[in-house]
Symmetry: D2
Subunit: 355 residues, 4 copies
């Protein structure tokens, strides 16, 4: 019942700190016989890693993954996969000056309050770098889903208040902000650079969809599919809100508009609208699952901020180090990973129900 | 690892259907020696029960609770409390006409897709009536929290797009919509009645706050306090979005505005703003926890809707029976209950960390 | 993660005390569509209930079970079954005299040490009466197993050092000690009566077998089938040892004798001996699973015993009340129940593994 | 809910195969501030590692451990410790000849039946080598227990039917069989060598005690301390039986003899005998906890054995490779590790119960 574990029959357990030896994850419950390669995992890690554009942190981490166990030749055996990513570019010295200061918006104070001890080097376990392990596990999950015909895809829906216009999935990986819309991508990029120049940071919204999902996934009553997804996605650092389908907007609809009418689509029961975002009564309808996550602006900014020292003395802090002025583009693969992990769990769990 | 269970060291397991014998819950992990009475639980159930106003369902359920176990005299013993609520006013006949129809917005189709069998009487396990068990368990949780000086309070923040103006906690239980603002309460009530008259329904937003919470609750990395709360609240039927503190609005802020500066408040470290909603890095800061849940409009409406039969034939449906034109006011105590349950779990779990 | 729960995808959560309102269990993860009747459950409860022979407690408990949820007509729906058994024949007055005394061999002292409070009426939650809920849940498990062609059967292997000779399954329910051997049954009965007359009690060994189990059940490495069975059975009050197959005797064998050779039995791979008791490397081999549990003598005896009061004063105790001079025959259905619950869990969990 | 995880608030999750990259474990729930060094862990691993005596496998594995995370300086931070042990001396070629044969007594067949795929190199995940990760985690557990004044110690009680005479804890690590009795140690060693010479193997019994344990640990009803210990220890490969205190022998005692009388030992309530093995009603009494585990003879023997190939053809097998003629001495630290892990879990869980 580790708090560093997620999932019931497909479960991931992560470890590692920003400036320790490395990060990793044990992925248990992978069905036997799944073809997985280091390249499959590396591809996803490369989407998350820093230092690849001028709107992300300049820290240079190759994030090379090693598969330590669970494979026999190219296939999984049903035993746990352990994935290890060594840290390479740690400059703990950058953090010496703030070891006794609580950075606003960071977990420095709350970790101290919880544990009475804190690894101040790069945020330790609370660093966003922790999500590399999630992405590695998510890559495994995506391979399992692929065998089921299920696909998880994400993109940036909004940055600094700038929304996506038209959605072209082919654009997403072609711009540094992961916008599916070339136009808005440019505006978002500019806005991020402006914030950076002003010593500030911005936030945004990530959208992830799941296609090919059969009806019937998710469990009443506490493990509803949307509840599990909310847990999964809200556990990502920086996420302050999660919504499914119509989400907060559905609170302003009338029932006659919100309800998704059923129809028979050549023998398959479908709904003609999808306000419920593919999940009704906590169980998948078979339509596209639509989820959005609100990401707050990066807390590390170079503008001066009021704070206190560990012993409560008033202080000011200006954060140097290497940081992302907007974390949203790098959060996209992390949300995808958490959604994929959740979906595999539900797929495998549903298999227990048969005539 | 029951999907009808929630919580780690304080855990609740529920059962029951809308038109079966009754509903109930086993509450395990209650600390020994807590004073609890039937009245404590009944008070909360009375806040959720139907038939108390003309904006709620006319079904007459007294929702009388019986404590079956876990008490010795007036105190808990540390063994599981079992709470039972018998159903009294079931009219399954109301549902005969729709037993082969899938009601839009309801879990009829998805339960069938999942289980291949469905209790069509009043929605069975998928009925909102299931939440009575949550409220009963939440009442126990509130008693435990009371001993810790922690208070969980909720209200209606918005109904049918009508927002609360000023917040007066004294008003909440004085109006049928649980608005903390007399003025907006009247408007909300009118809007609900208008929708009902038009055979329609409306949704809204519930806000819950937790005061008196110490810093340090919640667990990195997957069991962050906000992740657990999101899981807990998103598992309530009808909830399509959950946000903490600034929530989706924080995605549009700059870091310099969003970050909550620390200051020393007479020896206690506090933040001068609370955009993070009392949770930073997944761990409580000691400030007020603020959570909002979006509730979609009640799916049961009397306007005709397009649907299909179980065997896929096109059909129209008009839902009679007894329903709430707006479930939001009755969801308030349910969200409170789920938040309270989550908080107790985190409080007890934190006790394991000591020198 | 309730300590009053057992199982992963098929999980039972129990409640209730010896002299409270009653006992019960929520059984979750029951596959949908299983035919279950009150009679199916009652039959198993009747095998465990007291007052049916002169070697068991004279307490008269009909142990009538009510199914509160999870059924639609005669079939399960996939939602949790709640089963309730009301206490009828409670004479808490019997216990007044010992409310401040710790009974040797009972959990009186350890519960006090754990919880700081104790329900002294009939042992409260620590009473053997708690196992009624297990048997009720086990009856549900047996129905699920029946659909899989798996059968769980138990008997008394030894009482007061008297071992069973030949095994005739037809004899088991025909004698009050549940011996499969008429001869030894008579001796055992006499020995129990002798102990009772002398104010004393005796123990014994229960054996349970599982037939029809496919190979492949159980999970490496911590949830090996034998590990789960040991957990399940050792959690029954009074059990002090569990062994599988050759058990402790296998520690004295040589490998050449112990190892079970494989052979091809008409296309099915089998072993010609079964020293491993149907479980090899923690996973079922497809042969009969054989488990034995050692049950210590009933702690309630009328002979005087040395003890202390709650405040540590030296005292003597003579236990009156209504007790079993030998609990072994009534433990047989309890061990069967725990084995059946474990097997269903493993069967359902194995379904997640497919091509 | 990984089957490769064990524990509730102190939980370990392991990975790795005999002939893969290595083995490892994530230890979560370690309290913050505990002093732990690589040497602390290495010391325990050295007790388990092969190649150190002529009664153990000649495979040369240094079993060097690396701590990948969870430490800040010399102290734990409360975040997960990941421990990695690289495999060094793998000779998978040794296994080529048996890749299509099922070795009797090994998990070859059952893994194939379960997963449909099998890593035949050295037994893969089913190898006893898996226990290195347990021992590493157990070393962490022992450090936590040390801070609580709790000590876990084990020894060989019996090998090949030869029992220990007198118990001298100072002798245990001085002889290759881990007997606390010099005399029997010599006999055991001779008997092992005789079996080896004859191409055979032997088994035995391990005893582990826990001293300094406070009363009150363990949880009613399914997570009784003895049930958790039985689960923990029975999950070790080769263990076929577990007993507590009087164990199977208690089944032959009368209640008047078995019951442990209470007395007041200078203000502390104690029992004058300890037939219950320090656990009564599933909860620790404060007396020494006594547990025994039966270990079957090593399945790898060089004598010819009957078996079948993967496709069911009759065959004979003679196992070469490098094996232990008696695994018992190396199982001692493994049982200690599992007991220590279980005890920490119970200690931390008990902290949640306060006034």
């Amino acid at each position: 019942m580790s708090a560093n574990s997620f999932g019931r029959v497909f479960s991931v357990t992560t470890f590692g700190e920003s400036h320790g030896s490395g990060l990793g994850v044990i992925v248990d419950g992978v069905p036997p016989g799944v073809l997985i390669s280091v390249a499959d995992i590396q591809r996803e890690l490369d989407r998350r890693k820093p230092g690849v554009s001028d709107v992300s942190s300049p820290r240079k981490e190759p994030d090379r993954v090693e598969i330590l166990s669970g494979m026999f030749g190219e296939r999984t055996t049903g035993t746990p996969l352990a994935l290890l990513i060594r840290n390479k570019d740690t400059r703990s010295g950058d953090y010496e000056s703030i070891r006794d200061l609580y950075r606003p918006g960071h977990a420095d104070y709350t970790y101290d309050a919880k544990f009475g001890i804190r690894d101040w080097r790069g945020g330790g376990r609370a660093s966003g770098r922790e999500t590399a392990a999630r992405v590695a596990a998510g890559a495994v999950a995506k391979k399992v889903l692929q065998n089921e015909g299920i696909e998880v895809r994400g993109y940036t829906l909004e940055i600094a208040g700038i929304s996506v216009g038209k959605v072209d999935y082919g654009q997403i990986e072609k711009n540094p902000v992961r916008s599916p819309d070339k136009e808005s991508a440019r505006e978002m990029e500019e806005e991020i650079k402006r914030a950076l120049k002003e010593g500030d940071s911005v936030g945004g919204i990530v959208q992830v969809t799941v296609t090919g999902c059969p009806p019937g996934l998710g469990e009443p009553v506490f493990d509803k599919l949307d509840a599990l997804l909310a847990h999964a996605v809200m556990s990502i650092g920086g996420v302050k809100g999660v919504e499914i389908g119509g989400g907060f907007e559905s609170a302003r609809m009338r029932g006659s508009l919100y309800n998704d009418p059923f129809y028979n689509d050549g023998g398959r029961i479908r709904t003609s609208t999808n306000n419920c975002g593919g999940i009704c009564g906590g169980i998948s309808t078979g339509e596209e699952i639509v989820l959005r996550a609100a990401v707050h602006p990066t807390p590390s900014i170079s503008l001066p901020q009021d704070t206190v020292t560990r012993d409560g003395k008033k202080a000011q802090i200006k954060i140097s180090g290497r940081h992302d002025p907007c974390i949203v583009p790098r959060v996209v693969p992390v949300v995808e990973a958490m959604v994929a992990i959740t979906m595999v769990d539900c797929v495998l769990l549903q298999r227990r129900i048969r005539d």
